[in-house]
């Protein structure tokens, strides 16, 4: 048998890994910021060191909301002002967001997870995988139960689809069961989670999915 020597000791890297980067996108008003507010509580309970980057058109409205929410050190929330179409800074040229995420990695050496919230957009919005490792698309029941059938790239390509505001289904004439079934169908069975981010219903499942997909035990 040949001798096998000089093989590196398998699984250890020497470079600093930095935090995992998870994108959260979706239409205006679907509940992206509300989801993050609830996620921060779950992540804190699990002692996951987290930071957030928000993207707004010309303000820092979402960042301010998270800073005031009390679920995260306000210094760990950075605001990127897109100044143009929200998808431009998460897909075509994500430089501003990459710079912000790199900055957070330098500032917080223990950082494990950086959440990047897109500005509200349309169903065609997607994240560049040069920016994020994994991404969530948030739609909501009140936006119409035909959203999955429209097969928007955001709905089809995301790693996890969140259908939010499930409590509103009976008030807006939506057959929630059918909506979720159609969502799973157009996504070929890839994961879909139904949430109510006002009450926190099922947000733990979203936190579980993030942990399962991208977090490394230290």
């Amino acid at each position: 048998m040949d001798t096998i020597d000089n093989i590196p000791a398998a699984e250890t890297g020497t470079k600093p890994l930095g935090a995992a980067r998870v994108g959260i996108g979706g239409p205006v008003g679907s509940g992206k910021t509300a989801l993050i507010e609830q996620l921060l509580v779950h992540l804190a309970k699990r002692s996951i060191s987290t930071a957030v980057i928000t993207n707004d058109l010309v303000t820092a409205e979402d960042a301010e909301r998270l800073r005031k929410g009390g679920a995260i050190d306000p210094a760990r929330v950075l605001a990127v002002e897109a100044g143009a179409c929200p998808h431009t800074v998460i897909r075509e040229d994500p430089t501003l967001n990459i710079i912000a995420a790199d900055q957070l990695d330098r500032l917080y050496r223990d950082l494990e997870l950086t959440i990047i919230e897109s500005g509200g957009d349309n169903l065609a919005s997607t994240f560049s995988l040069d920016l994020v490792d994994w991404w969530i698309f948030v739609i909501d029941v009140a936006g119409g139960d035909d959203i999955p059938r429209k097969r928007g790239p955001g709905v089809l390509q995301c790693d996890l689809l969140v259908v939010n505001k499930v409590d509103l289904a009976p008030h807006v004439g939506v057959d929630l069961g059918r909506m979720l079934e159609e969502a799973r169908s157009v996504r070929d069975g890839r994961p879909v989670v139904a949430t109510n981010c006002r009450s926190g219903e099922n947000v733990a499942a979203v936190a579980d999915a993030i942990a399962e997909a991208v977090l490394v035990a230290r």
Binding site: I7, L17, G18, S49, A211
Partner: protein, 161 residues
């Protein structure tokens, strides 16, 4: 950190080398003869990720967590011990080949492809679209061009990533 939902079999935080490296080639060849090579298969688009959870062909649960400046590539050696190795294999990329029937139709197709943010390449007078989902999903986006015969679908081709 709180525990992940389940612990992976392997946590890979660095790429050990390339299967093409002389120092790896012979060793991997030796392992292969003894059934020691396992493959992780990824699509081209997933090479940009630095964190991902994948299952190898033999069922090993792998958490890949790389530094931002360390890219994945076909043939990357992800894990090795004396008798076994896990190597990354990039799946063949599928391309949808579309042939416009006139210059006007070519302009319309080019506009649509750009507007839909498709990843494309040119082959002669044809436009090829990298498919990251079912073919029909792409054709559904340009129904007028297809149904009118302005654009013809040429047989699907594959190419190395």
């Amino acid at each position: 950190m709180g525990a992940t939902s389940s612990s992976p079999d392997h946590t890979i935080t660095g790429i050990l080398g390339s299967r093409l490296d002389p120092q790896w080639h012979d060793r991997l060849h030796h392992m292969e003869h003894h059934g020691g090579i396992d493959l992780v298969r990824l699509d081209t688009r997933d090479l940009s990720r630095r964190r991902l959870r994948v299952t190898s062909e033999s069922g090993a649960d792998c958490m890949i967590a790389l530094a931002r400046d360390e890219p994945l590539f076909d043939g990357a050696v992800l894990f090795a011990d004396e008798a076994h190795a896990i190597v990354l294999k990039v799946n063949l990329e599928r391309w949808l080949r579309l042939r416009p029937t006139s210059a006007e139709d070519a302009l319309a197709l080019g506009y649509a492809a750009g507007n839909l943010h498709w990843r494309v390449r040119f082959r002669g007078k044809d436009l090829e679209v990298a498919m990251e989902g079912p073919e029909q999903g792409y054709l559904d986006r340009i129904p007028d061009l297809i149904e009118s015969g302005a654009v013809i679908v040429v047989a699907e081709e594959t190419s190395s990533a």
